[in-house]
Amino acid sequence: MKYSYHWLKELSGTKKPADRVADLLMRHAFEVETVESYAHHLENIVTGEVLSVASHPDADRLRVAQVEIGKYTVRQIVCGAPNLEAGQKVAVALPGAVLPNGTVIKESEIRGVRSEGMLCSEKELGLSENHEGIAIFHEEAPIGAELAKYIGLHDTILDVKILADRGSDALSYEGLAREIAALDGHAPQFIEARAKPLKTPAYNRAPKIHIIDKQECRRYVGLYFKDVIIGESPFWMKTRLLVSGLRPVNNIVDITNYLMLLTGQPLHAFDADQLVGGIEIRLAKKGERLELLTGEKKTLTPQDLVIADTKKVLALAGVMGGKHSGITKETKNIFLEIANFDGATIRRTRIRHGLPTDASYRFERNLDPNLPTEVAREVAVLIHELTGGKLMGARDEYVERRKERKIELALSRVESVLGVKVPIFEVVQYLALQGLTVRKVNGKEALFVHIPTRRPDLRDEWDLIEEIGRMRGYDKILAAAPELPFLAGAVHEKKLFERQTKVLLAHTGFTEIMTYSFYGIADMEAFGFAPAQHIEIANPLNPDQTHLRGSLLPSLLSKVKENIRHAESFRLFEWASIFGKSKSSEIRESKMLALASVSREKGPREFARLKGTLENLFESAGVRDVAFVSHAVPTAGDEWHRTQSADIFIEGKKVGTIGTLMPFIMKRFGITAGVAVAEIDTEAFRESVRTEKSFQPLPRFPFAVRDISLVFSGRQKSQAVVELMREVGAPMLRSAELFDVFEREEGERNLAFHLSFGADERTLTGQEMDETFDRIVRAVKERFGGELHQ
């Protein structure tokens, strides 16, 4: 909320300049977002006295005035205002002045007569909508004074961010002035209960009030005024509204706005002659309509609280009044509402209809239901003084009177929470400055604290400790190392594994990406995923982010595509959650690892590169017994290439898949480069990590290596050959490693292996090796039809 420094100063009694007040607030109460001079200073506009008025020689409607703007300084000004008269005190815009509407004032000739400035209307000064003539000031106004200073616009504006739990008291001048005074160490300057009780005639002419929905409306005070005269407000009130960011409208509306700023309590004035029968506060009926003050027509819902008479809806409670019962120039009698509504109800209505107003802003923060009592007295005085209206009746429906709360505060807890000792007299002083009544509890180191109803944020001991802490100042609490027994830090195995694995990946050339957890129908379609399996966002930001992703691959692939423009070959990985529906636990979330190996070179080469990296990764992580098995083609849609992908099994359990993606997917993404990807369930991966290691003695006798080259017809899987060789070559064959593959002729595949032979207790003889070698050759021929290639 924007606050005028002058007004705050007057109410609080502070002597500190604006920036010091801002600093005080920031350290002890609220963030002050800006401290700025009031935006329109009306520079080069001064007060002046009209000495004489003569007619213009060449224009009927214009007149020529001699205006004194200082001792012996008289300006000649041509003016068309009908209300111009000698002896008036007026606003003189001198050459160089820029009016709020942007007009630049220059010396000029108007139909042959020199004019050295301009006399301004209130509208031209930005003070009101009044443009019927020039603005006339009090006859005792000084001559040659800066106008802004004279009318009170020379001000500094503090934009203060009132905390969410202080809306009840601090979204008002009085509330913030009370806070400033407290921080300054004294009582505020305004008197809390200054007006006398309301006097109403015996015959109560105010319409009867019926609160139907008592959850939504806690209190409703209605005042009936007769014979108001709608007109302009006095300057002092207009400028207070202006500097606080509100536009003056007419005396009735201005009074309600002024009191709202001052006390925080929004008020609403109805034209009493437009009301029929009693007033009801109720939830709207389905389809009820209301034309707002702004002319906008709204269809209401049964969640909207309305003010209605016996015939129709009059206003959207706490948000905005209706046009039909609004104040006009012709209004004679008014019905004034000072109410208390449920914050959440008002907030929902404001959101539903998109109507943020000064009233809804305050009601949403749940105001003090005792506040209307005081405001009713003040408004009665102001309306009588400024409009001549006579109070002819008042109603007050109060559903349940709110009482003061009492909190017992143990003094030991103050130190226990803040970590610093605060003497009891200081504690008492801080609480008293905040307007709380404090009494010592007999026989205990404790205080009884009475909380006024304007402070619903103070609910328990800890709330009071916060008041003490901030009043004293948190900078007076010095950092202190805790004295606590040693405690070994909690270890989260999954996070530890994530960190270690990410480091391994970075060391093998993978760069980590982080991408959105959402994707849209287009991504799902491109991959052939069924939207029904996905968790849908009820309020997505855009059509590309409508669902929580069930796979990391779509965003991985789009990042591959984006990076391919800048890089020849690269590797990416992401470690992130995927989501889905679950029969047993409603939803499921699993952390997946997605990898991509990319080069501009076409073809499946990247598969082997990625697979090799994964094999390294598994080995470094401590995973044994990894198998890559040709990907099982499911019946439903599948993103994996039918003959270039493999499921990854660890200890017989599937943990992920590696391969290239379906050609149609690559086509949709417009990628022609070689791309191999993998998606691995990190939990299954982690669970298969075996960190225990046991030492194997080094071989004492040398191993001999022999190569074998075998020719197969058709697509012989190398893994099966290795397994067979190991089986029949045992125990002398120690390892068999594929080192070369090539297509010989059409349909013929040549696989070459390094075979190493050895024994634990002796050096093998050539004969022993030959026998094992021949056994292997025979077995491969028998099982797979492979021929030894000479």
Binding site: M26, Y474, I477, A479, P482, L484, A490, S517, N539, L541
Partner: protein, 348 residues
């Protein structure tokens, strides 16, 4: 002068002279055989000592020996000279300024790097890292943290919500902060508690250079018996953390704030690490950087996880990892973090 001595002097002079001319290892090897070998002149003299008189032996023996040692030393020097200079260095030339052949280098995401750095500092203070789901129940994200049913944070324009399945018992949402992990941790553990929680969070907010709907948060929770973990403790932990993180003394400033899950609540600022509170463009001339929120855990939160009211006390604090990364690396566009652009990621 006696004959053998003349001979020794002649051998020494000749050997020295020849050695100067030698340019390669082969010639040196021939020289070595000639002057230091078994059939060398000096060796002959030494072998012939036995035929000399005792007086002659006394003179000739040491002379031959010292000549031999002198030649051996010269041989060593010449050998070293030839090893260094007997190479055609021009033929061996390579371009050492050409780029090296590198193994592909990978990079961790700046957020991960930062998370690790933070975790290490906190580990040294006795805090462990904890984690929780990103798709969270409304109860954990809001109710247990003392957000009233009508709190604005629950609005659709602030928070993403998930479309409910009819048979679901719970309402789910992509978590708006890492604080639900506090709830989960406390439900399963009794104090003392010292954990940090880094993680991905979501807000329903349109993205631009300074707004992002997905970002990373970090949270710290320390709970113990009343009086043990105080506001002063929080200040100490925060000051220690930031001083280590930035490698210089950092001051903490607390300002009053309001969060449903803490009481008292603070906004906390750190002294500007660039200008040391003199005022600069980064801190907008204030000398302070706004970092995050903190406070003493609200007793209602303790009650919601099953602790007795007033039985424990502690602080919770959190801030944006993303924001800290922007500050630390001077990144001006928040969208880069989730953009997956290698040109960005390779800088870390």
């Amino acid at each position: 002068m006696h004959m053998p001595q003349v001979k020794i002097a002649a051998i020494l002079a000749e050997g020295k002279k020849e050695l100067v001319e030698i340019k390669d290892a082969n010639a040196l090897s021939v020289w070595e055989t000639k002057y230091l070998g078994r059939k060398s002149g000096l060796n002959d003299i030494l072998k012939g000592l036995k035929d000399l008189s005792p007086e002659e032996k006394r003179v000739v023996g040491p002379a031959a020996q010292s000549a031999r040692e002198a030649l051996a030393a010269l041989y060593g020097e010449t050998n070293q000279r030839i090893e260094r200079e007997g190479v055609d260095w021009e033929k061996e030339w390579i371009d050492v300024t050409a780029p090296g052949e590198r193994l592909p280098a990978g990079h961790l995401h700046p957020i991960t790097l930062l998370e690790n750095e933070i975790a290490d500092i906190f580990a040294s203070l006795g805090f462990g890292v904890w984690d929780g789901p990103e798709l969270e129940m409304e109860t954990n994200n809001f109710d247990s943290l003392n957000f009233p049913k009508d709190h604005p944070a629950r609005d659709m324009q602030d928070t993403f919500w998930v479309k409910q399945d009819k048979h679901w018992q719970h309402t789910y949402l992509p978590r708006t902060h890492t604080s639900p992990v506090q709830v989960r941790y406390m439900q399963e553990h009794k104090p003392p508690i010292r954990i940090i929680v880094p993680g991905r969070v979501f807000r329903n907010e349109a993205t631009d250079a300074s707004h992002e709907h997905t970002f990373h948060h970090f949270e710290c929770l320390m709970v113990d018996e009343p009086g043990k973990v105080t506001v002063a403790t929080f200040k100490y932990i925060a000051e220690t953390f930031f001083s280590r993180f930035f490698g210089k003394k950092v001051d903490i400033r607390l300002r009053p704030s309001y969060f449903p899950f803490t009481e008292p609540s603070f906004e906390f600022d750190i002294s500007c690490v660039l200008c040391e509170r003199k005022g600069c463009s980064v801190c907008q001339q204030t000398g302070w950087l706004e970092i995050g929120g903190a406070g003493m855990v609200n007793q209602k939160v303790f009650e919601s996880v099953g602790y007795k009211r007033g039985a424990y006390q502690g602080f919770a604090w959190g801030f944006g990892l993303t924001r800290l990364a922007m500050m630390k690396y001077k990144i001006t566009d928040v969208r880069l973090f989730m953009g997956g652009d290698l040109r960005f990621l390779k800088q870390f």
